[in-house]
Protein backbone atom coordinates (compact mmCIF):
# COMPACT_ATOMS: atom_id res chain seq x y z
CA UNK A 1 0.00 0.00 0.00
CA UNK A 2 2.84 2.39 0.85
CA UNK A 3 4.44 1.65 -2.48
CA UNK A 4 1.18 2.45 -4.21
CA UNK A 5 0.92 5.77 -2.38
CA UNK A 6 4.48 6.74 -3.27
CA UNK A 7 3.87 5.85 -6.91
CA UNK A 8 0.64 7.79 -6.90
CA UNK A 9 2.35 10.87 -5.41
CA UNK A 10 5.16 10.71 -7.96
CA UNK A 11 2.55 10.57 -10.69
CA UNK A 12 0.86 13.67 -9.26
CA UNK A 13 4.16 15.57 -9.41
CA UNK A 14 4.67 14.39 -13.01
CA UNK A 15 1.15 15.39 -14.00
CA UNK A 16 1.48 18.81 -12.37
CA UNK A 17 4.73 19.41 -14.25
CA UNK A 18 2.99 18.39 -17.46
CA UNK A 19 0.09 20.73 -16.70
CA UNK A 20 2.45 23.64 -16.12
CA UNK A 21 4.29 22.88 -19.36
CA UNK A 22 1.01 22.73 -21.25
CA UNK A 23 -0.20 26.02 -19.78
CA UNK A 24 3.16 27.62 -20.63
CA UNK A 25 3.15 26.37 -24.21
CA UNK A 26 -0.50 27.24 -24.79
CA UNK A 27 0.02 30.86 -23.72
CA UNK A 28 3.15 31.07 -25.88
CA UNK A 29 1.10 29.89 -28.86
CA UNK A 30 -0.67 33.20 -28.81
CA UNK A 31 0.26 35.13 -31.91
CA UNK A 32 2.28 38.32 -31.48
CA UNK A 33 5.30 39.40 -29.48
CA UNK A 34 4.20 40.00 -25.86
CA UNK A 35 6.69 42.89 -25.51
CA UNK A 36 5.30 44.54 -28.63
CA UNK A 37 1.74 44.02 -27.39
CA UNK A 38 2.56 45.55 -24.00
CA UNK A 39 4.32 48.63 -25.41
CA UNK A 40 1.81 49.32 -28.16
CA UNK A 41 2.36 50.04 -31.86
CA UNK A 42 4.31 53.29 -31.41
CA UNK A 43 7.23 51.82 -29.45
CA UNK A 44 10.63 51.79 -31.15
CA UNK A 45 12.51 48.59 -31.96
CA UNK A 46 15.01 49.54 -29.26
CA UNK A 47 12.36 49.81 -26.55
CA UNK A 48 10.88 46.46 -27.56
CA UNK A 49 14.32 44.82 -27.46
CA UNK A 50 14.94 46.32 -24.03
CA UNK A 51 11.67 44.95 -22.65
CA UNK A 52 12.36 41.56 -24.21
CA UNK A 53 15.64 41.42 -22.31
CA UNK A 54 14.00 42.65 -19.11
CA UNK A 55 11.29 39.96 -19.30
CA UNK A 56 13.75 37.29 -20.44
CA UNK A 57 11.89 36.90 -23.72
CA UNK A 58 15.20 36.79 -25.61
CA UNK A 59 16.16 33.59 -23.79
CA UNK A 60 15.60 30.19 -25.39
CA UNK A 61 12.12 28.79 -24.75
CA UNK A 62 13.17 26.06 -22.32
CA UNK A 63 15.06 28.62 -20.21
CA UNK A 64 11.97 30.84 -20.19
CA UNK A 65 9.93 27.90 -18.96
CA UNK A 66 12.36 27.14 -16.12
CA UNK A 67 12.41 30.79 -15.01
CA UNK A 68 8.63 30.99 -15.19
CA UNK A 69 8.18 27.73 -13.29
CA UNK A 70 10.60 28.85 -10.56
CA UNK A 71 8.46 31.95 -10.06
CA UNK A 72 5.21 29.99 -10.08
CA UNK A 73 6.52 27.58 -7.43
CA UNK A 74 7.28 30.57 -5.22
CA UNK A 75 3.66 31.70 -5.63
CA UNK A 76 4.44 34.52 -8.07
CA UNK A 77 1.88 34.25 -10.88
CA UNK A 78 2.54 37.71 -12.26
CA UNK A 79 0.18 40.66 -12.45
CA UNK A 80 -3.19 40.95 -14.17
CA UNK A 81 -2.98 43.30 -17.17
CA UNK A 82 -6.55 44.44 -16.74
CA UNK A 83 -6.85 44.70 -12.95
CA UNK A 84 -3.29 45.82 -12.14
CA UNK A 85 -3.07 43.53 -9.13
CA UNK A 86 -1.26 40.24 -8.42
CA UNK A 87 -2.87 37.27 -10.13
CA UNK A 88 -2.52 35.01 -7.09
CA UNK A 89 -4.67 37.20 -4.81
CA UNK A 90 -7.36 37.65 -7.44
CA UNK A 91 -7.47 33.96 -8.31
CA UNK A 92 -7.66 32.81 -4.68
CA UNK A 93 -10.40 35.32 -3.91
CA UNK A 94 -12.45 34.27 -6.94
CA UNK A 95 -11.94 30.62 -6.13
CA UNK A 96 -13.79 31.08 -2.85
CA UNK A 97 -16.94 31.96 -4.77
CA UNK A 98 -16.58 28.92 -7.00
CA UNK A 99 -15.97 26.67 -4.00
CA UNK A 100 -19.18 27.80 -2.26
CA UNK A 101 -21.18 27.17 -5.43
CA UNK A 102 -19.57 23.80 -6.17
CA UNK A 103 -19.93 22.48 -2.61
CA UNK A 104 -23.60 23.49 -2.51
CA UNK A 105 -24.23 21.74 -5.84
CA UNK A 106 -22.32 18.68 -4.65
CA UNK A 107 -24.41 18.38 -1.48
CA UNK A 108 -27.65 18.68 -3.47
CA UNK A 109 -26.60 16.21 -6.16
CA UNK A 110 -25.26 13.56 -3.77
CA UNK A 111 -28.14 13.59 -1.26
CA UNK A 112 -30.97 13.77 -3.79
CA UNK A 113 -29.17 11.55 -6.31
CA UNK A 114 -28.49 8.78 -3.79
CA UNK A 115 -32.05 8.90 -2.42
CA UNK A 116 -33.49 8.68 -5.96
CA UNK A 117 -31.11 5.90 -6.95
CA UNK A 118 -31.75 3.77 -3.86
CA UNK A 119 -35.52 4.29 -4.14
CA UNK A 120 -35.46 3.25 -7.81
CA UNK A 121 -33.36 0.16 -7.09
CA UNK A 122 -35.46 -1.02 -4.14
CA UNK A 123 -38.58 -0.65 -6.29
CA UNK A 124 -36.91 -1.89 -9.47
CA UNK A 125 -39.17 -2.30 -12.50
CA UNK A 126 -42.11 -0.54 -10.88
CA UNK A 127 -43.75 2.67 -12.04
CA UNK A 128 -41.66 4.62 -9.51
CA UNK A 129 -38.42 3.17 -10.88
CA UNK A 130 -39.39 3.96 -14.47
CA UNK A 131 -40.49 7.48 -13.60
CA UNK A 132 -37.27 8.23 -11.71
CA UNK A 133 -35.03 6.75 -14.39
CA UNK A 134 -36.85 8.59 -17.19
CA UNK A 135 -36.34 11.80 -15.24
CA UNK A 136 -32.67 10.94 -14.77
CA UNK A 137 -32.19 10.30 -18.49
CA UNK A 138 -33.81 13.65 -19.21
CA UNK A 139 -31.60 15.23 -16.53
CA UNK A 140 -28.31 14.06 -17.98
CA UNK A 141 -29.37 15.50 -21.36
CA UNK A 142 -29.91 19.04 -20.08
CA UNK A 143 -27.45 21.81 -20.94
CA UNK A 144 -26.70 23.36 -17.51
CA UNK A 145 -26.67 26.95 -18.80
CA UNK A 146 -30.14 26.47 -20.26
CA UNK A 147 -31.42 25.06 -16.96
CA UNK A 148 -30.12 28.26 -15.36
CA UNK A 149 -31.98 30.46 -17.84
CA UNK A 150 -35.22 28.50 -17.37
CA UNK A 151 -34.96 28.74 -13.58
CA UNK A 152 -34.42 32.51 -13.85
CA UNK A 153 -37.45 32.84 -16.12
CA UNK A 154 -39.59 30.81 -13.70
CA UNK A 155 -38.39 31.85 -10.24
CA UNK A 156 -37.00 35.34 -10.73
CA UNK A 157 -38.95 36.90 -13.58
CA UNK A 158 -42.16 34.89 -13.15
CA UNK A 159 -42.72 34.12 -9.48
CA UNK A 160 -40.27 36.76 -8.16
CA UNK A 161 -39.21 34.37 -5.40
CA UNK A 162 -35.44 34.30 -5.74
CA UNK A 163 -32.66 36.62 -6.93
CA UNK A 164 -30.72 35.70 -10.06
CA UNK A 165 -27.54 37.76 -9.95
CA UNK A 166 -24.48 37.89 -7.73
CA UNK A 167 -23.68 36.43 -4.35
CA UNK A 168 -25.15 39.15 -2.12
CA UNK A 169 -27.77 41.89 -2.43
CA UNK A 170 -26.20 45.22 -3.40
CA UNK A 171 -28.31 46.96 -0.73
CA UNK A 172 -27.78 45.69 2.80
CA UNK A 173 -27.82 41.95 3.41
CA UNK A 174 -24.40 40.36 3.26
CA UNK A 175 -25.21 37.82 5.94
CA UNK A 176 -25.54 34.05 5.62
CA UNK A 177 -29.24 34.18 4.81
CA UNK A 178 -28.59 36.62 1.98
CA UNK A 179 -25.93 34.28 0.60
CA UNK A 180 -28.18 31.21 0.79
CA UNK A 181 -31.03 32.97 -1.00
CA UNK A 182 -28.65 33.92 -3.81
CA UNK A 183 -27.17 30.43 -3.87
CA UNK A 184 -30.38 28.45 -4.53
CA UNK A 185 -30.83 28.96 -8.28
CA UNK A 186 -27.18 28.66 -9.40
CA UNK A 187 -26.56 25.64 -7.14
CA UNK A 188 -29.65 23.82 -8.41
CA UNK A 189 -28.78 24.56 -12.06
CA UNK A 190 -25.29 23.20 -11.49
CA UNK A 191 -26.57 20.14 -9.62
CA UNK A 192 -29.08 18.84 -12.19
CA UNK A 193 -26.74 16.83 -14.43
CA UNK A 194 -24.54 15.28 -11.70
CA UNK A 195 -27.67 14.51 -9.67
CA UNK A 196 -29.07 12.50 -12.57
CA UNK A 197 -25.75 10.72 -13.13
CA UNK A 198 -25.46 9.79 -9.44
CA UNK A 199 -29.06 8.53 -9.36
CA UNK A 200 -28.40 6.23 -12.35
CA UNK A 201 -25.11 5.00 -10.95
CA UNK A 202 -26.47 4.43 -7.44
CA UNK A 203 -29.39 2.43 -8.84
CA UNK A 204 -27.04 0.15 -10.79
CA UNK A 205 -24.71 -0.25 -7.79
CA UNK A 206 -27.53 -1.05 -5.37
CA UNK A 207 -29.01 -3.60 -7.78
CA UNK A 208 -25.64 -5.28 -8.03
CA UNK A 209 -25.15 -5.40 -4.26
CA UNK A 210 -28.71 -6.69 -3.74
CA UNK A 211 -27.76 -9.76 -5.77
CA UNK A 212 -24.80 -10.55 -3.54
CA UNK A 213 -24.80 -13.62 -1.33
CA UNK A 214 -24.13 -11.69 1.86
CA UNK A 215 -27.34 -9.75 1.36
CA UNK A 216 -29.22 -13.00 0.96
CA UNK A 217 -27.59 -14.28 4.15
CA UNK A 218 -28.54 -11.12 6.03
CA UNK A 219 -32.12 -11.53 4.87
CA UNK A 220 -32.11 -15.24 5.74
CA UNK A 221 -30.97 -14.37 9.25
CA UNK A 222 -34.27 -12.59 9.58
CA UNK A 223 -32.84 -9.09 9.80
CA UNK A 224 -35.23 -6.22 9.39
CA UNK A 225 -35.22 -5.06 5.76
CA UNK A 226 -34.22 -1.56 6.88
CA UNK A 227 -31.17 -2.97 8.64
CA UNK A 228 -30.23 -4.94 5.53
CA UNK A 229 -30.49 -1.88 3.32
CA UNK A 230 -28.68 0.50 5.66
CA UNK A 231 -25.96 -1.78 7.01
CA UNK A 232 -25.29 -4.21 4.20
CA UNK A 233 -26.40 -2.62 0.96
CA UNK A 234 -25.75 1.10 1.35
CA UNK A 235 -22.30 0.74 2.87
CA UNK A 236 -21.12 -1.35 -0.03
CA UNK A 237 -22.78 0.91 -2.55
CA UNK A 238 -20.96 3.90 -1.15
CA UNK A 239 -17.62 2.74 -2.57
CA UNK A 240 -18.97 2.81 -6.11
CA UNK A 241 -20.39 6.27 -5.56
CA UNK A 242 -17.17 7.66 -4.10
CA UNK A 243 -15.21 6.69 -7.23
CA UNK A 244 -17.11 9.27 -9.21
CA UNK A 245 -16.41 11.97 -6.63
CA UNK A 246 -13.29 12.97 -8.59
CA UNK A 247 -15.07 12.99 -11.93
CA UNK A 248 -17.96 14.86 -10.38
CA UNK A 249 -15.60 17.53 -9.05
CA UNK A 250 -14.16 17.96 -12.52
CA UNK A 251 -17.60 18.33 -13.95
CA UNK A 252 -18.66 20.82 -11.27
CA UNK A 253 -15.52 22.93 -11.81
CA UNK A 254 -16.28 22.96 -15.52
CA UNK A 255 -20.01 23.56 -15.08
CA UNK A 256 -19.39 26.58 -12.88
CA UNK A 257 -17.91 28.34 -15.92
CA UNK A 258 -21.37 28.45 -17.49
CA UNK A 259 -23.41 28.85 -14.33
CA UNK A 260 -21.27 31.74 -13.06
CA UNK A 261 -21.69 33.46 -16.41
CA UNK A 262 -25.49 33.03 -16.32
CA UNK A 263 -25.90 34.17 -12.71
CA UNK A 264 -23.08 36.78 -12.60
CA UNK A 265 -21.64 34.74 -9.72
CA UNK A 266 -18.23 36.07 -8.63
CA UNK A 267 -16.24 32.87 -9.22
CA UNK A 268 -13.18 31.75 -11.11
CA UNK A 269 -15.11 30.44 -14.13
CA UNK A 270 -16.70 33.76 -14.99
CA UNK A 271 -13.34 35.42 -14.30
CA UNK A 272 -11.58 33.14 -16.79
CA UNK A 273 -14.12 33.78 -19.54
CA UNK A 274 -13.75 37.53 -19.01
CA UNK A 275 -9.96 37.31 -18.91
CA UNK A 276 -9.94 35.49 -22.26
CA UNK A 277 -12.27 37.97 -23.91
CA UNK A 278 -10.06 40.81 -22.53
CA UNK A 279 -6.84 38.98 -23.51
CA UNK A 280 -5.56 39.14 -19.94
CA UNK A 281 -3.15 36.20 -20.34
CA UNK A 282 -1.42 36.23 -16.92
CA UNK A 283 -4.85 35.94 -15.32
CA UNK A 284 -5.89 33.08 -17.66
CA UNK A 285 -2.60 31.28 -16.97
CA UNK A 286 -2.88 31.63 -13.19
CA UNK A 287 -6.54 30.66 -13.08
CA UNK A 288 -6.13 27.57 -15.26
CA UNK A 289 -3.06 26.48 -13.32
CA UNK A 290 -4.76 26.82 -9.93
CA UNK A 291 -7.94 25.00 -10.96
CA UNK A 292 -6.00 22.18 -12.61
CA UNK A 293 -3.79 21.77 -9.54
CA UNK A 294 -6.79 21.63 -7.22
CA UNK A 295 -8.48 19.13 -9.50
CA UNK A 296 -5.42 16.86 -9.49
CA UNK A 297 -5.23 17.02 -5.70
CA UNK A 298 -8.93 16.21 -5.33
CA UNK A 299 -8.48 13.18 -7.57
CA UNK A 300 -5.56 12.10 -5.40
CA UNK A 301 -7.70 12.43 -2.26
CA UNK A 302 -10.46 10.40 -3.93
CA UNK A 303 -8.03 7.57 -4.61
CA UNK A 304 -6.79 7.62 -1.01
CA UNK A 305 -10.37 7.73 0.30
CA UNK A 306 -11.12 4.76 -1.91
CA UNK A 307 -8.29 2.80 -0.28
CA UNK A 308 -9.66 3.68 3.11
CA UNK A 309 -13.23 2.65 2.27
CA UNK A 310 -12.34 -0.65 0.63
CA UNK A 311 -10.07 -2.67 2.94
CA UNK A 312 -9.50 -5.29 0.20
CA UNK A 313 -7.45 -2.77 -1.78
CA UNK A 314 -5.15 -2.03 1.13
CA UNK A 315 -3.73 -5.53 1.03
CA UNK A 316 -3.58 -5.83 -2.72
Amino acid sequence: MHRYLVQRLLLVVLVLLGVSLLVFIVTRLTPGDPARVLLGPRATEEQVAQLRTAYGLDQPLHMQYVTWLARVVRGDLGESIQLHRPVLGEVVERFRGTLILAVAAMIISFTVGIVFGVAAALRANTALDRALMSLALLGISMPPFWVGLILIIAFTLGLRWLPATGMFSPTGGGDLQDLLVHLVLPAVSLAVVPLAVIARLTRANVLEVLNQLYVRTARAKGLHSRTVVLRHVLRNTLIGTVTILGLETGWLLAGTVYIETVFAWPGIGAMLVNAILQRDYPLVQGGVLLVAAIYVLINLSTDILYLYLDPRLRHA
Partner: protein
Protein backbone atom coordinates in the same frame (compact mmCIF):
# COMPACT_ATOMS: atom_id res chain seq x y z
CA UNK B 1 -19.48 13.92 -17.77
CA UNK B 2 -19.07 11.05 -15.25
CA UNK B 3 -21.28 9.06 -17.57
CA UNK B 4 -18.04 8.44 -19.45
CA UNK B 5 -16.85 6.34 -16.57
CA UNK B 6 -19.28 3.50 -17.25
CA UNK B 7 -17.40 0.26 -17.61
CA UNK B 8 -16.90 -0.56 -21.22
CA UNK B 9 -19.02 -3.56 -22.13
CA UNK B 10 -17.10 -6.61 -23.23
CA UNK B 11 -17.11 -6.92 -26.99
CA UNK B 12 -19.61 -9.46 -28.24
CA UNK B 13 -20.32 -9.46 -31.92
CA UNK B 14 -22.72 -12.30 -32.49
CA UNK B 15 -25.85 -11.26 -30.58
CA UNK B 16 -25.92 -7.80 -32.12
CA UNK B 17 -26.01 -8.86 -35.72
CA UNK B 18 -28.93 -11.24 -35.20
CA UNK B 19 -32.55 -10.11 -35.07
CA UNK B 20 -31.95 -6.36 -35.24
CA UNK B 21 -35.53 -5.70 -36.25
CA UNK B 22 -36.99 -7.67 -33.40
CA UNK B 23 -34.86 -5.83 -30.89
CA UNK B 24 -35.88 -2.44 -32.22
CA UNK B 25 -39.56 -3.25 -31.61
CA UNK B 26 -38.65 -4.73 -28.27
CA UNK B 27 -37.11 -1.49 -27.07
CA UNK B 28 -39.36 1.56 -27.09
CA UNK B 29 -36.53 3.72 -25.74
CA UNK B 30 -34.33 2.90 -28.72
CA UNK B 31 -37.17 3.51 -31.20
CA UNK B 32 -38.08 6.88 -29.67
CA UNK B 33 -34.43 7.90 -29.50
CA UNK B 34 -33.68 6.92 -33.09
CA UNK B 35 -36.84 8.66 -34.31
CA UNK B 36 -36.03 11.86 -32.41
CA UNK B 37 -32.43 12.01 -33.62
CA UNK B 38 -33.37 11.18 -37.22
CA UNK B 39 -36.12 13.80 -37.23
CA UNK B 40 -33.79 16.57 -36.06
CA UNK B 41 -30.94 15.55 -38.36
CA UNK B 42 -33.32 15.26 -41.32
CA UNK B 43 -34.84 18.70 -40.67
CA UNK B 44 -31.35 20.18 -40.45
CA UNK B 45 -30.33 18.45 -43.69
CA UNK B 46 -33.31 19.67 -45.72
CA UNK B 47 -33.35 23.17 -44.20
CA UNK B 48 -32.29 24.79 -47.53
CA UNK B 49 -35.22 23.09 -49.29
CA UNK B 50 -37.87 24.12 -46.78
CA UNK B 51 -40.01 27.24 -47.36
CA UNK B 52 -38.23 29.15 -44.58
CA UNK B 53 -37.33 32.81 -44.32
CA UNK B 54 -33.66 33.68 -44.61
CA UNK B 55 -32.23 33.07 -41.11
CA UNK B 56 -30.23 36.31 -41.23
CA UNK B 57 -32.82 38.72 -42.64
CA UNK B 58 -33.86 41.22 -39.99
CA UNK B 59 -37.24 42.85 -39.53
CA UNK B 60 -36.93 45.32 -36.64
CA UNK B 61 -40.61 46.21 -36.72
CA UNK B 62 -41.58 42.65 -35.91
CA UNK B 63 -38.93 41.95 -33.29
CA UNK B 64 -39.50 39.49 -30.43
CA UNK B 65 -42.78 38.20 -31.87
CA UNK B 66 -44.37 35.32 -30.02
CA UNK B 67 -44.86 31.89 -31.58
CA UNK B 68 -47.48 32.00 -34.32
CA UNK B 69 -47.51 35.81 -34.39
CA UNK B 70 -46.74 37.78 -37.58
CA UNK B 71 -46.39 34.54 -39.51
CA UNK B 72 -43.45 33.30 -37.41
CA UNK B 73 -44.02 29.65 -36.50
CA UNK B 74 -41.76 29.83 -33.45
CA UNK B 75 -41.63 33.61 -33.12
CA UNK B 76 -38.78 36.01 -33.90
CA UNK B 77 -35.67 37.20 -32.08
CA UNK B 78 -34.50 40.67 -31.04
CA UNK B 79 -33.78 41.65 -34.66
CA UNK B 80 -36.98 40.13 -36.05
CA UNK B 81 -35.18 37.10 -37.48
CA UNK B 82 -37.26 33.92 -37.87
CA UNK B 83 -36.50 31.61 -34.91
CA UNK B 84 -37.56 28.41 -36.68
CA UNK B 85 -35.30 29.16 -39.61
CA UNK B 86 -32.39 30.09 -37.35
CA UNK B 87 -33.00 26.96 -35.30
CA UNK B 88 -32.74 24.65 -38.34
CA UNK B 89 -29.78 26.49 -39.87
CA UNK B 90 -28.17 26.59 -36.43
CA UNK B 91 -28.70 22.85 -36.11
CA UNK B 92 -26.52 22.37 -39.19
CA UNK B 93 -23.71 24.30 -37.53
CA UNK B 94 -24.03 22.66 -34.10
CA UNK B 95 -24.33 19.11 -35.44
CA UNK B 96 -21.49 19.54 -37.95
CA UNK B 97 -19.12 20.93 -35.32
CA UNK B 98 -19.96 18.11 -32.89
CA UNK B 99 -19.54 15.42 -35.56
CA UNK B 100 -16.24 16.75 -36.90
CA UNK B 101 -14.88 17.24 -33.38
CA UNK B 102 -15.93 13.69 -32.49
CA UNK B 103 -14.26 12.41 -35.66
CA UNK B 104 -10.99 14.17 -34.92
CA UNK B 105 -11.02 13.07 -31.26
CA UNK B 106 -11.93 9.54 -32.30
CA UNK B 107 -9.10 9.17 -34.81
CA UNK B 108 -6.47 10.78 -32.55
CA UNK B 109 -7.62 9.26 -29.27
CA UNK B 110 -8.51 5.93 -30.85
CA UNK B 111 -5.04 5.56 -32.37
CA UNK B 112 -3.42 6.34 -29.02
CA UNK B 113 -5.66 3.83 -27.25
CA UNK B 114 -5.10 1.18 -29.91
CA UNK B 115 -1.30 1.50 -29.73
CA UNK B 116 -1.19 1.71 -25.93
CA UNK B 117 -3.49 -1.26 -25.44
CA UNK B 118 -1.92 -3.42 -28.12
CA UNK B 119 1.75 -2.88 -27.35
CA UNK B 120 1.51 -2.37 -23.58
CA UNK B 121 4.73 -1.82 -21.61
CA UNK B 122 6.66 1.38 -22.20
CA UNK B 123 4.47 2.53 -25.10
CA UNK B 124 1.39 2.16 -22.92
CA UNK B 125 3.02 3.91 -19.98
CA UNK B 126 4.23 6.93 -21.92
CA UNK B 127 1.02 7.42 -23.90
CA UNK B 128 -1.24 6.99 -20.91
CA UNK B 129 0.77 9.41 -18.74
CA UNK B 130 0.32 12.00 -21.50
CA UNK B 131 -3.40 11.26 -21.42
CA UNK B 132 -3.32 11.66 -17.63
CA UNK B 133 -1.98 15.18 -18.12
CA UNK B 134 -4.83 15.99 -20.52
CA UNK B 135 -7.25 14.53 -17.98
CA UNK B 136 -5.79 16.70 -15.23
CA UNK B 137 -7.84 19.58 -16.60
CA UNK B 138 -11.54 19.73 -15.88
CA UNK B 139 -12.74 19.36 -19.45
CA UNK B 140 -14.23 22.76 -20.16
CA UNK B 141 -11.18 24.40 -18.61
CA UNK B 142 -8.82 22.82 -21.13
CA UNK B 143 -11.12 23.89 -23.95
CA UNK B 144 -11.12 27.39 -22.51
CA UNK B 145 -7.32 27.47 -22.22
CA UNK B 146 -7.01 26.37 -25.85
CA UNK B 147 -9.55 28.92 -27.06
CA UNK B 148 -7.63 31.52 -25.06
CA UNK B 149 -4.51 30.69 -27.03
CA UNK B 150 -6.14 30.31 -30.45
CA UNK B 151 -8.69 33.10 -30.09
CA UNK B 152 -12.50 32.80 -29.98
CA UNK B 153 -14.19 31.35 -33.05
CA UNK B 154 -16.08 28.31 -34.25
CA UNK B 155 -13.10 26.49 -35.77
CA UNK B 156 -10.96 27.05 -32.67
CA UNK B 157 -13.82 25.91 -30.44
CA UNK B 158 -14.02 22.76 -32.58
CA UNK B 159 -10.28 22.12 -32.17
CA UNK B 160 -10.50 22.70 -28.42
CA UNK B 161 -13.46 20.34 -28.01
CA UNK B 162 -11.73 17.68 -30.12
CA UNK B 163 -8.53 17.87 -28.04
CA UNK B 164 -10.49 17.70 -24.79
CA UNK B 165 -12.18 14.48 -25.90
CA UNK B 166 -9.01 12.71 -27.07
CA UNK B 167 -8.41 11.34 -23.57
CA UNK B 168 -11.95 9.97 -23.45
CA UNK B 169 -11.50 7.93 -26.62
CA UNK B 170 -7.95 6.90 -25.83
CA UNK B 171 -8.97 5.36 -22.53
CA UNK B 172 -12.10 3.77 -23.93
CA UNK B 173 -10.35 2.16 -26.89
CA UNK B 174 -7.42 1.04 -24.75
CA UNK B 175 -9.74 -0.68 -22.28
CA UNK B 176 -11.51 -2.46 -25.13
CA UNK B 177 -8.23 -3.54 -26.74
CA UNK B 178 -6.92 -4.95 -23.45
CA UNK B 179 -9.90 -7.31 -23.40
CA UNK B 180 -9.22 -8.83 -26.82
CA UNK B 181 -5.44 -8.50 -26.88
CA UNK B 182 -4.65 -12.03 -25.77
CA UNK B 183 -7.58 -13.76 -27.42
CA UNK B 184 -7.02 -16.73 -29.65
CA UNK B 185 -7.95 -15.09 -32.95
CA UNK B 186 -5.19 -12.52 -32.48
CA UNK B 187 -2.67 -15.29 -31.78
CA UNK B 188 -3.97 -17.10 -34.85
CA UNK B 189 -3.45 -14.07 -37.07
CA UNK B 190 0.04 -13.68 -35.70
CA UNK B 191 0.76 -17.38 -36.28
CA UNK B 192 -0.32 -16.90 -39.89
CA UNK B 193 2.41 -14.28 -40.20
CA UNK B 194 0.26 -11.16 -40.18
CA UNK B 195 2.13 -7.97 -39.40
CA UNK B 196 1.16 -5.67 -36.51
CA UNK B 197 -0.55 -3.10 -38.73
CA UNK B 198 -2.72 -5.79 -40.28
CA UNK B 199 -3.60 -7.30 -36.91
CA UNK B 200 -4.46 -3.87 -35.50
CA UNK B 201 -6.67 -2.82 -38.40
CA UNK B 202 -8.20 -6.11 -39.47
CA UNK B 203 -8.49 -8.02 -36.20
CA UNK B 204 -8.38 -5.71 -33.18
CA UNK B 205 -10.29 -2.74 -34.57
CA UNK B 206 -13.36 -4.66 -35.84
CA UNK B 207 -13.65 -6.59 -32.59
CA UNK B 208 -13.68 -3.47 -30.43
CA UNK B 209 -15.99 -1.57 -32.79
CA UNK B 210 -19.42 -2.40 -31.28
CA UNK B 211 -18.69 -0.99 -27.81
CA UNK B 212 -17.15 2.03 -29.49
CA UNK B 213 -20.49 2.68 -31.13
CA UNK B 214 -22.04 3.19 -27.70
CA UNK B 215 -19.13 5.38 -26.76
CA UNK B 216 -19.58 7.62 -29.78
CA UNK B 217 -23.34 8.00 -29.35
CA UNK B 218 -22.96 8.93 -25.71
CA UNK B 219 -20.11 11.28 -26.57
CA UNK B 220 -21.80 13.12 -29.45
CA UNK B 221 -24.49 14.28 -27.04
CA UNK B 222 -21.85 15.65 -24.70
CA UNK B 223 -20.08 17.34 -27.63
CA UNK B 224 -23.32 19.06 -28.72
CA UNK B 225 -23.70 20.50 -25.22
CA UNK B 226 -20.02 21.51 -25.08
CA UNK B 227 -20.18 23.28 -28.46
CA UNK B 228 -23.34 25.12 -27.44
CA UNK B 229 -21.70 26.01 -24.12
CA UNK B 230 -18.59 27.55 -25.68
CA UNK B 231 -20.73 29.56 -28.10
CA UNK B 232 -23.02 30.57 -25.24
CA UNK B 233 -20.17 32.19 -23.31
CA UNK B 234 -18.90 33.91 -26.44
CA UNK B 235 -15.91 31.70 -27.23
CA UNK B 236 -17.48 29.73 -30.09
CA UNK B 237 -19.44 30.85 -33.14
CA UNK B 238 -19.13 34.59 -33.82
CA UNK B 239 -21.86 36.71 -35.45
CA UNK B 240 -23.37 36.48 -37.98
CA UNK B 241 -22.92 32.70 -37.80
CA UNK B 242 -25.60 31.30 -35.51
CA UNK B 243 -25.53 28.01 -33.71
CA UNK B 244 -27.73 26.90 -30.83
CA UNK B 245 -25.34 28.32 -28.26
CA UNK B 246 -25.25 31.85 -29.68
CA UNK B 247 -29.05 31.79 -30.06
CA UNK B 248 -29.29 30.99 -26.34
CA UNK B 249 -26.91 33.83 -25.52
CA UNK B 250 -28.96 36.24 -27.66
CA UNK B 251 -32.20 35.15 -26.02
CA UNK B 252 -30.72 35.57 -22.57
CA UNK B 253 -30.85 39.36 -22.88
CA UNK B 254 -34.60 39.37 -23.52
CA UNK B 255 -35.78 36.81 -20.98
CA UNK B 256 -38.04 39.36 -19.33
CA UNK B 257 -40.10 40.27 -22.42
CA UNK B 258 -39.65 37.24 -24.67
CA UNK B 259 -38.60 34.12 -22.71
CA UNK B 260 -39.28 31.86 -25.70
CA UNK B 261 -36.25 33.24 -27.55
CA UNK B 262 -33.93 31.67 -24.95
CA UNK B 263 -36.10 28.64 -24.19
CA UNK B 264 -36.44 27.30 -27.75
CA UNK B 265 -32.78 26.73 -28.73
CA UNK B 266 -32.19 25.09 -25.33
CA UNK B 267 -35.13 22.77 -25.95
CA UNK B 268 -33.56 21.83 -29.28
CA UNK B 269 -30.27 20.91 -27.59
CA UNK B 270 -32.18 18.97 -24.95
CA UNK B 271 -34.25 17.05 -27.53
CA UNK B 272 -31.25 16.01 -29.60
CA UNK B 273 -29.06 15.05 -26.64
CA UNK B 274 -31.95 13.23 -24.99
CA UNK B 275 -32.53 11.22 -28.17
CA UNK B 276 -28.83 10.39 -28.45
CA UNK B 277 -28.72 9.29 -24.80
CA UNK B 278 -31.72 7.02 -25.31
CA UNK B 279 -29.96 5.41 -28.27
CA UNK B 280 -26.69 5.13 -26.32
CA UNK B 281 -28.39 3.58 -23.28
CA UNK B 282 -30.25 1.02 -25.38
CA UNK B 283 -27.17 0.11 -27.40
CA UNK B 284 -25.20 -0.39 -24.21
CA UNK B 285 -27.86 -2.72 -22.82
CA UNK B 286 -27.95 -4.67 -26.06
CA UNK B 287 -24.19 -5.07 -26.22
CA UNK B 288 -23.77 -6.08 -22.63
CA UNK B 289 -26.27 -8.79 -21.72
CA UNK B 290 -25.18 -8.87 -18.06
CA UNK B 291 -25.96 -5.19 -17.66
CA UNK B 292 -29.26 -5.54 -19.50
CA UNK B 293 -30.22 -8.30 -17.15
CA UNK B 294 -29.67 -6.06 -14.17
CA UNK B 295 -31.44 -3.02 -15.55
CA UNK B 296 -34.45 -4.57 -17.25
Amino acid sequence: MPELAVALPAPSRAPVASSWRLRLLDRPLLSIGVALVLLIVLLALIAPLLPLRDPNVTAPARRLSGAGVNGYVLGSDQLGRDLLSRLLWGARVSITVALVAAGVAFVAGGSIGLLAGFYGGVVDNVLMRLIDILMAFPYVLLAIALVAALGPGLLNALIAIAVVNISFYARGVRAAVLVVRHMAFIEAARALGARDVRILLKEVLPSVAPPLLVFVTLNIGALIVETAGLSFIGLGAQPPTADWGTMLADGRQFMMTAPHVAAIPGLAVLALVWGLNMVGDSLRDMLDPTLAHATR
